[in-house]
Amino acid sequence: MKKIALLLALLLAVSVCFMGCTTGNNVTGTDKVADVDYVKGNGKLIVGITDFAPMDYKDADGNWIGFDADMAKAFAKYLGVEAEFVEINWDNKAMELETKAIDVVWNGMTITDEVKGLMGVGTAYCKNMQVVVMKADKVNDYKTIDSLKDLDFAVENGSAGAAALDALSIKYTAVDTQAKALMEVKSGSVDACVIDLLMAGAMTGEGTSYADLAAGIAVTDEEEEYGVGFRKNSDLIDEFNKFWTASLADGSVETTAQKYNIAKNIIK
C-alpha cells in the first residue's frame, strides 16, 4: 500500500513537471524578434529545405541549386552572411524554426492558414496549383473532378494537395513527402497522387525521373502562392520583403526564374 502511494506520488510529481514545462513557453505579443542581429551574429543564414526540384535540389557536384536555393543565397549575401542549407524533415518545419535549428523555411511552401498560424510569412513570390499525377497512358481518361472520385490517391501529409482532396471529400493515403506520393503511383499501390504543379512539371514526363507519369487536371480552382517562412514576428520578414522588391526591380528574380523555367509562375 505504501509502495503504491509512493508510486502515485512520483507519477504526480512527474506530470506536474511536464505541465510546468508546457505552460512556460508561449511567447506572445507583437514585439519584433531581433533575428537580423541573430543571423548576422552567427555569420550564416540557415535555410531549411527538402529535395524539391525545381526549387531546391542538388547539382552533379552536390551543391544546392534551384530557384529557391539561388534566391536564398542572394538574400544571405544581401544580409552579409553565408547561406547554409539543411535538409529537414518537412513535418518538423515549425519546430525547426522555433528552436532556431533553422532560420528560414524556403522550399516552395504553399501559404495556407495552417502555415500562417505556425510562422511569419514574407511576400508571396510564386503561383502554384495542385495537380493530379498518374500513369501517362491513363491521364487522358480523367478530365473532370468527378472522374477522380473512384481513384485511390496518395498525397503528402498536411500538404495543400491533402487539403484540396479533403475539400472534395476524396479519400487518400497520406505519405510523408511529395516524392513518396510519386513513388506510390509509380509502384502502382495507388492510382494517382496530388502534388504541386511546379514539381510535377520538373519531375514527370519525358526526360525526367518519372518518365511514365504525367500531370493531369488541377484539383483546385483558386491559385495558391508560395511564400518564405520565418519565425513569428521576426524582423527578417521586413528585410526579406525589401530584398524581394529590390530583386524584382533589378531583374534578378526574372533571370533566376528563367534559368529554372518557372518565369511564368513568378508573382511580379
Binding site: L10, E87, N89, T99, A101, S209, Y210, A211
Partner: protein
C-alpha cells in the same frame, strides 16, 4: 598458334574487365553504393558510440535500481519506466527540440542529440539485463565471499562479474542487433543515416536504393552475430 590464341584471349579478358569496371564506375549502382556507404558511416558511428557510453551507464542504472535507499530506487525505476515505456522516436524529438521549445535554449547538434537519446534509452534496457544477470547468481556465493572476508566490491568484481558477463551475452546480442536497426529512427531529426540516403533517391525516380539498404544492415548484423558468437566461445572458461 595456341600461344597467340591465349594472348588474344588474355587481351580480350582484360578489355572486358576494363569495360566492366568502367560500366560499374559510371553506373547509378556505383553512385548509390557510395552514397549509402556515406550513410552507413553515420549509422556505424552512432552504433559504436552508443554502446561505448550506454554499457557502463547501464551498470550504474542497474546499481541504482537495486539500491537499498528506497527513494533513489524509485526515482531510477521511474526513469527506466519512462524510457522503456515511450517510443524511441518521440524521445529523439524531445531531446533535440525539447530544450529549444521549452526553455529557448540553444539546441544540441543533431547527431549529438541522437546519440544522447540512444545512450539513455539503451542504458535502461541494458540495466535490466544486468539486473537479471546479477540476480541469477546464487545468494550462496555472496555469503561464501563474506565468510572468506571479501568486501562487497571484491565479491562483485572477482566472483560475480565473470559469470555475469557470460550469462548476459545472448540477451545483450539481441539488443545490439536491435540497436543497429533502431539507428534508422534518427532521420526524424535529419541525421543523414543510411535509410535517409536510400530514400533521397526516390526523388530521382529510383526506388531500389531504399531496399538495397537492407543488404548493408544484413551484412552489418551478420558480422555482429559472428563477433558475438566468437566472444561467447572465448567466454567458455567454465561450464555453467
Amino acid at each position: 598458334m595456341e600461344l597467340t590464341n591465349g594472348m588474344v584471349m588474355g587481351a580480350s579478358l582484360s578489355d572486358t574487365l576494363a569495360n566492366m569496371w568502367n560500366a560499374i564506375a559510371n553506373s547509378s549502382f556505383f553512385e548509390v553504393t557510395l552514397r549509402l556507404f556515406e550513410g552507413l558511416f553515420t549509422t556505424v558511428e552512432l552504433f559504436v558510440l552508443t554502446l561505448l557510453f550506454s554499457l557502463p551507464l547501464g551498470l550504474i542504472i542497474c546499481f541504482g535500481s537495486r539500491c537499498k535507499f528506497t527513494p533513489l530506487r524509485y526515482v531510477v525505476k521511474t526513469i527506466v519506466w519512462i524510457v522503456r515505456g515511450s517510443p524511441l522516436m518521440l524521445q529523439i524529438l524531445v531531446v533535440y527540440y525539447g530544450p529549444g521549445l521549452l526553455f529557448g535554449w540553444d539546441l544540441l547538434p543533431r547527431f549529438t542529440a541522437a546519440l544522447v537519446t540512444f545512450v539513455i534509452n539503451y542504458a535502461c534496457y541494458f540495466s535490466e539485463i544486468y539486473r537479471g544477470g546479477i540476480q541469477s547468481i546464487p545468494r550462496g556465493q555472496y555469503e561464501a565471499g563474506q565468510v572468506l572476508g571479501m568486501t562487497k566490491w571484491q565479491v562483485f568484481s572477482k566472483v560475480v562479474l565473470l559469470q555475469l558477463i557470460k550469462r548476459i551475452v545472448p540477451p545483450m546480442g539481441n539488443e545490439f542487433i536491435t540497436l543497429v536497426k533502431d539507428t534508422a529512427l534518427v532521420r526524424v531529426i535529419s541525421v543523414y543515416e543510411i535509410i535517409w540516403m536510400g530514400e533521397s533517391f526516390i526523388k530521382k525516380g529510383m526506388m531500389w536504393p531504399l531496399f538495397y539498404t537492407a543488404v548493408f544492415y544484413l551484412v552489418f548484423n551478420g558480422l555482429l552475430t559472428l563477433a558475438l558468437g566468437y566472444f561467447e566461445k572465448k567466454l567458455d572458461y567454465f561450464k555453467s
